[in-house]
Amino acid sequence: MAQTTGGISFVNAKVEYGTGSGSFTDISGWANNVEVSGGERLAGEVYTADGDTGIVTFGKRTPVDVTYMCVFTEGSTDPFEKFRGYHQAADGTQIRLRWSPQGGAGTGKIAFTGTGKITAAPWLGGDAASPDPLTFSFTMRTAELLKGVTA
């Protein structure tokens, strides 16, 4: 089997966010890393005295956590202040996250989106010994992610 030539990286990714009903804001210029976890299907098991393997049954899919890591900047409309505000609003503001590994390069590229609220707050720490730009991260929990394409 010939080796695929279709591998892609995250270097031209497009990373965005929006509120429940608003349009999306492109924060590719701040976003450093997108991490996804969860979404497993629950499984149960029981063993009986007879036989050597368990009886396995399956349940629902667990929520998905999406973590954005972004460069910290101080502007009032910059990502840090936006996400801090969404998290600290009464009851938390519902947000949508959307990212596409090649989304900055045109139409028809794979994209993912999910809707939820911030569960891990975007706070800011730092290390006086580090020369690196400060970053912050936050996590949004969503029931599931959808896969689509850029238009």
Binding site: F24, G103, T107, G108, A111, V149, A151
Partner: protein, 55 residues
């Protein structure tokens, strides 16, 4: 530029300002290169009006 109506077949289409989810209809410029890409990727499908039956 002629616009045509399309059915979204992908999970969603990520427009700059919105997501249009599967099963919804959208209007796009038929000659737009991006529209052709989405058709080739089978992310959308043209909606053809049913012809009226002759009485």
């Amino acid at each position: 530029m002629a616009k045509k109506r399309y059915l979204v077949k992908a999970g969603f289409l990520a427009f700059p300002d919105k997501n249009v989810h599967q099963g919804n209809e959208i209007e796009l410029e038929a000659t737009n290169p991006g529209t052709k890409v989405l058709l080739e990727a089978e992310a959308i499908e043209e909606i053809k009006e049913a012809k009226k039956e002759k009485e």
